[in-house]
Symmetry: C2
Subunit: 232 residues, 2 copies
C-alpha cells in the first residue's frame, strides 16, 4: 500500500496502540484497493475474509430481506467495518457498497485474529471498538423503536448540525434517498417529514438545510444523549 496512507490507518483507534512489528505485519499482508462508486464490496451471508478499512470515500452498509432494503450505517474515512464477523470467523450480516469512489484497505481476517491473540494492546483496542459499535447499534435500535420518523429526522438534523459547526445550517452528507432508508422511512416520507419540520425552522434547498428555530426543533426532537450522542 502507499506509504502516505499508513499514518492515517495507524492513527485509527483500532491500530494506534499495537506493537509496531505487528502493525507492519498486518500492513504487509493487507492490500489497498480502489473502487468506483456503487460497487458492492461484500454480501450478506458470505464468509468474512477481510477486515475492511475505509481509507478514502464513503461506504454504505445495508441489509435486504423480502424485496426490501435498508441502510444500516454509513462509514466514513478512516473507519473499519465488519469487525465482529471477522473476529467470529462468521458470515456477514450486512452487505456493503461504495457510495463514492473509494479506497479500501483489505486485511485478511486470519491475520487479524492471529495478531489479536498475540498483542494485548491490540486486543484492548478491539474490545473498545466492538463496545462502541455495540452501543451504536443499541442507540440505533432505540431510535427506531421509540421515535416516529419526524422525530428521527429532527434528531438527525440536530446531530449533523452540531457536528458541522452548529452555525445554523448544515449540508446533508448523502442523497435523500439513502438518508430516508437510513432513518427508516421512504423517500416520499422524508420529503413530507421535511415539510412538517418547516414550522420548526427547517428550510431545505437541495442538500443545504437551514435551522432557524433551534429551540423549537429541540422541543420537538427531545434529543437524548443516550440515543443520539456518539461515543457516550
Amino acid at each position: 500500500m502507499r506509504s502516505e496512507d499508513l499514518p492515517a490507518v495507524r492513527e485509527l483507534g483500532l491500530f494506534a496502540d499495537m506493537e509496531s512489528a505487528h502493525f507492519e505485519e498486518l500492513m504487509q499482508v493487507a492490500y489497498l484497493q480502489r473502487f468506483p462508486p456503487q460497487v458492492q464490496l461484500i454480501t450478506e451471508g458470505d464468509p468474512a475474509d477481510f477486515l475492511h478499512v475505509v481509507v478514502d470515500g464513503t461506504v454504505e452498509l445495508f441489509a435486504a430481506s423480502n424485496n426490501r432494503e435498508t441502510t444500516m450505517a454509513i462509514i466514513n474515512p478512516v473507519e473499519t467495518f465488519i469487525l465482529a464477523a471477522v473476529l467470529k470467523d462468521a458470515v456477514y450480516l450486512m452487505s456493503a457498497r461504495t457510495m463514492t469512489a473509494s479506497r479500501i484497505l483489505l486485511i485478511p481476517a486470519e491475520n487479524i485474529r492471529d495478531i489479536f491473540e498475540r498483542d494485548a494492546a491490540f486486543a484492548r483496542s478491539i474490545v473498545q471498538e466492538l463496545s462502541v459499535r455495540y452501543r451504536d447499534m443499541v442507540k440505533l435500535l432505540k431510535n427506531q423503536k421509540l421515535r416516529t420518523s419526524v422525530e428521527r429526522l429532527a434528531n438527525y438534523l440536530l446531530h449533523e448540525h452540531k457536528c458541522q459547526g452548529a452555525n445554523g445550517a448544515l449540508t446533508l452528507p448523502t442523497d435523500k434517498r439513502t438518508l430516508a432508508t437510513l432513518l427508516g422511512m421512504t423517500p416520499e416520507n422524508l420529503s413530507r417529514a421535511f415539510g412538517t419540520l418547516g414550522p420548526y425552522g427547517v428550510s431545505v434547498e437541495g442538500a443545504r438545510i437551514g435551522l432557524s428555530k433551534l429551540d423549537d426543533l429541540e422541543t420537538l426532537a427531545k434529543p437524548n444523549p443516550l440515543t443520539d450522542d456518539p461515543v457516550t
Copy 2:
C-alpha cells in the same frame, strides 16, 4: 457466593477459558444478590459499576424516551448483560428490571477491566461475547426495519417453536404485554397479529401456541438465518 452456583457461572462462555486464579479473584469480589420480581436493577444513564450475571430468574432490558418504553432484550440464566458499558467505563444505555424472582451475580466493573488486561484467554472470551452481542443487535435492527409486525411475530413463533422442540406447539416465555414491546408493537396490535395469523395455522390458548400449518407460516414469515438464527 454459594459454592453450588459457581460451576454454572464458570461454564459461561465468558468465564470458561480464563485462568482459575483470575476466576477466583473475580468471585471473591463479586456478590450474589436475590431480587424479587419487578425490581429495577440498573437505570439508563447511570455509570456502569458492575457486570451483571443472571444466575437464576429472568431479566428484562428496556429503554425509555418520550414517555414511551420498549423492551430491548430478555436475559435468561446463565447470561451476562451490560458488558459493553462495563468495558468502556461508560453509562448504561438501557435499564434492567427483574421479571421474576432472580439471583444476580454482581462483579465490580473495575475488576473485570483489570483482569481483562492480564488474562489473554479472558480477553478472547470477551471479544467473542461482544461480537455475538453486536451481531444480535444487528439482527434486531434488521428485524425491526425490514419487517412488518405480523412478520416479526411469525418469525418469533417459528424461532421459539424450533427452540422448544419443534413439536407443533410452543409456550410463550413471557406475558404478551412484554412480548408486544419486544416485537416493537402495542399489546392490542399483538392480539390482532395473532388474529391475522389464524389462517396460517396459529392457535392461541393463553400462553400456549399451536402451529398447525408450518409451511404456510414459513411462507408468510420468510425466515432468514441472517436475521433470525442465534449465534450465526
